[in-house]
């Protein structure tokens, strides 16, 4: 089992490399879009593979909520060595997953320092969630928000065709 910190260092370098190569110098949300979507796409493929690989007792989830619980427990533990701290839903296809001490943010700050940089470090993980859901037959849109580090929320909106 590889040292978990290896993934953190690799993730840090991915973010740094993408930002260094971003041709658009605009630091606002428009300029960042390309890099954020590249990161999200990479996370998507990783999430797809992780969901295939993770062993699970029941092959069929009885309902959508079970899939989200699987993400919060099994997937989160496999990637971040901890479970999601809370899961809420409106029972109409929107879920909010909250991690109060997200491992990719926890060493950055405890509060508001570096807040504007935080979204860069969440894009890949949003992709992981969307990819895992996709493998399990659920199409979704995943976004993340940070009010104060190291807590963050992932919003999953199920897309019904």
């Amino acid at each position: 089992m590889a040292d978990a910190v290896l993934f953190e260092f690799l993730h840090t370098e991915m973010v740094a490399e993408l930002w260094a190569q971003d041709p658009d110098p605009d630091p606002g949300p428009g300029g960042q879009k390309m890099s954020l979507s590249v990161l999200e796409g990479m996370g998507f493929r990783v999430g797809q593979a992780m969901a295939e690989r993770l062993p699970r007792e029941t092959l069929a989830f009885r309902e959508e909520l079970d899939v989200l619980k699987f993400l919060c427990k099994d997937l989160w533990v496999a990637v971040f060595q901890k479970q999601m701290d809370s899961l809420r839903t409106n029972h109409q296809g929107t879920y909010v997953l909250q991690d109060n001490s997200f491992p990719l943010l926890i060493r950055m700050s405890s509060g508001l320092q570096y807040l504007e940089e935080a979204p860069k470090f969440l894009a890949f993980t949003c992709g992981i969630l969307r990819g895992a859901l996709s493998t399990l037959g659920i199409k979704s849109l995943v976004t993340a928000s940070v009010a104060a580090l190291p807590a963050c929320k992932f919003q999953v909106v199920i897309q019904r065709c």
Partner: protein, 126 residues
């Protein structure tokens, strides 16, 4: 017993961090000159007024802590500052470039809490 101040240098002599708690006298030279003096390094020494403790890692990171004379060997404390604070909160922080002064508020506040929690740190100097 108390801690006066603490310096963190990297292998190039860049001062990564400086904090002070109870410092009775300011030296009559600028901070930059003071850094140059400090980094030329000892293992530990003491004068009649204070004791300087020194810890260096194989990677060239130097931790220098000045305390009053009542404080014994504290190698494990300096090691903790390096491994549990500097490595965890600076090296592993994607937004802290190595080789520059540390800007992380989290590092500064955790270091401060740690120093204040030490058994040989008292809120009143002397």
């Amino acid at each position: 017993m108390t801690v006066h101040n603490l310096y963190l240098f990297d292998r190039n002599g860049v001062c990564l961090h400086y904090s002070e708690w109870h410092r009775k006298k300011q030296a009559g030279i600028s901070k930059e000159e003071e850094y140059k003096l400090m980094k030329d390094g000892f293992l530990a020494f003491q004068t009649s007024r204070y004791k300087l403790h020194y810890y260096e890692t194989p990677t060239g990171i130097k931790v220098v802590m000045n305390t009053d004379l009542g404080v014994g060997p504290i190698r494990d404390v300096l090691h903790h500052i390096y491994s549990a604070l500097y490595v965890e909160l600076v090296v592993k922080n994607p937004l802290c470039p190595l080789g520059q002064t540390v800007q992380s508020e989290l590092f500064r506040s955790r270091l401060d809490s740690y120093i204040r929690s030490l058994p040989f740190f008292s809120a009143r100097a002397g």
